[in-house]
Symmetry: C2
Subunit: 347 residues, 2 copies
């Protein structure tokens, strides 16, 4: 049962042409006559030939592989990002190496090295916490296009695709203020990340703009996960002067906050307004449907892939930083004000 490999020379011999001709057919060259092309293709099918990309890579040192490394595939935001990348990358005839770092910088070093050894022709990376420009230096030195997604790294000299976290956070908080909220918390996320910093800055700015003071006590960090959201809201509810609304670091945290509220017999949307960030796929079907700042992870993955492919094809493109715009999607979880108004109207 151990079949030995069928190679181009086998095909060539069987079809009565030279291996060069077979190679030409394989790459769809227009140089080859229609009838020979047909004959060769027939032979290929007949002998069950499979193309050996390792060999091809060796000769023409450019592979059809791109790498994508994410810090937490378990988070559906990143899973969706990955499928976004996958769709465009696939249809461009590339294939993706996907690695998950679980936020561990050591693991990230390994996988990046491994990808380099495999000759990826480009890399999309959502870097683990604490990644520095130096970690990416070898890549850029060897001329491999890199695009950072979600998290930017200062002075890395590579392209990046982030979203307008600052504007998104401002829009969300303004909305809460418009609805009459005065004590608004910012819940979840690790404070030492650039994304946290940007969202928090937007939150602060919107508060100041409205003449509200941005007390530090209402900013409560946590793991950026559902479980983290639960603990963050618990902490928030222990405050002497409780908030009535919260902007959450991301949707996962927001769901956790909803869970935590229910555990206290508070109905999210009615008794407390919550807004998320990301607009993951579950946001619209959840009950109450989550008001959130839409980042469109899948679209982001697609754009990142397009950017990367552009750089790969261009040979050597200079770094560009794209800040994707973002929009507030108002659904039900921030409906506190409405409910209150209704209640007042009834009384």
């Amino acid at each position: 049962m151990v079949k030995e490999r069928v190679t181009v020379v086998d095909i060539a011999r069987a079809a009565g042409v030279s291996k060069s001709t077979v190679s030409l057919v394989l790459q769809g060259s227009s140089l080859v006559n229609e009838v020979t092309r047909a004959k060769v293709n027939a032979t290929i099918r007949e002998l069950g030939y499979v193309y050996n990309r390792s060999a091809a890579n060796l000769r023409q040192s450019k592979s059809k592989i791109i790498g994508i490394v994410v810090n937490d595939l378990t988070n559906s935001f990143f899973a969706e990002l990955a499928v976004g990348v996958d769709t465009v990358v696939q249809s461009a005839g590339f294939v993706q190496f996907l690695a998950n770092t679980s936020e561990k910088i050591e693991r990230q070093r390994e996988v990046v090295a491994s990808m380099r050894e495999h000759g990826v022709s480009g890399l999309i990376i959502s870097p683990a916490r604490g990644t520095e420009a130096a970690d990416l230096a070898p890549l850029v030195e060897s001329g491999i296009p890199v695009v950072l997604v979600v998290r930017d790294i200062a002075d890395a000299g590579v392209s990046s695709l982030t979203s307008d976290n600052h504007a998104g956070a401002m829009a969300a908080v303004r909305h809460l203020i418009d609805r009459g909220h005065r004590r608004i918390a910012f819940l979840g996320g690790f404070p030492d990340t650039a994304v946290f910093e940007a969202r928090m800055r937007g939150y602060r700015e919107a508060l100041l703009e409205a003449g509200l003071d941005a007390a530090d006590g209402l900013v409560i960090g946590s793991a950026p996960s559902r479980a983290g959201g639960v603990t963050a809201i618990e902490q928030a509810m222990m405050l002497s002067d409780r908030p009535t609304a919260a902007l959450c670091f991301n949707d996962a945290v927001a769901f956790g906050v909803c869970d935590g509220l229910r555990a206290r017999r508070l109905e999210p949307g009615a008794d407390f307004a919550v807004i998320g960030f990301d607009d993951v796929i579950e946001a619209k079907t959840a009950v109450p449907a989550l008001t959130t700042v839409s980042v469109d992870p899948q679209g982001m993955g697609q754009r990142a892939a397009e950017l990367l492919l552009k750089q790969i094809n261009a040979g050597r493109a200079e770094a560009e930083s794209i800040i994707g715009s973002v929009r507030l999607v108002v659904r039900q979880s921030c409906g506190a004000a409405i409910e209150r108004k209704t209640r007042e109207a009834l009384s």
Copy 2:
């Protein structure tokens, strides 16, 4: 800026040894003297050499790549499965090609072909709906180990790792019956899949065992997603004789069912019992915490990877079918805790 490649010969020249020696060092052979090894390693670092796996693959036709293809990466069950695979595969020095088929058989064909061309030394696949044994035939003929996960395919002649869907469903339904439920629905999932069939059979059998009749009307299919769960429960509630409990096809459906119940002002766990299947990571933090049949997706990914690696190392292992055991994790969505508390209060 365009650095040309540093190769083993460059290292050899710089270190004053032959390329063979460098190669030996690279593979950590014990044949080479300690001091030369050190010298070579120093040179490697100094010149910034990066190993070229394409070249190595070409020579010793076995790569350090395994492929994993899943039918829906957006579903966190599969995302977790993928990270499970990733962890063990990484630490064995392999790297994974991950592809998402979005349940499209055509896409699956492409990605499998592509992986073959890249010379993966093994493949883990959760096949798209409608995959037949013939689709995998080329793989097995060329001696590439394949392990099916989650969904088995009859007569494919490859290893498979599934979970005991039948027993899990029975346990769940028995539990509901024990709690006094008599009208129990089976919600969600595509009826034309083996997994659906197995779970449904378990559901039926548990009902019959208890002398309840398994009316067809209580089995309602839908997309195996959160949105599908919403529609399924809506349909169930339109029945003249409504169910009081449901076993859901998977956790995503179960969450959707909870959403749908809330939309009707029914509290899952209190007014209606729901049990999921899979035990995804959110199941324990959701409110109410989801009672579910635990399948441990990450562990499943790990076991699949281990099985695959075993076969890769063994050269040619015969197919084995593993049916992972499964256990019911009782949390709050089936009303268990509440009932218990009530009972204690009464006594």
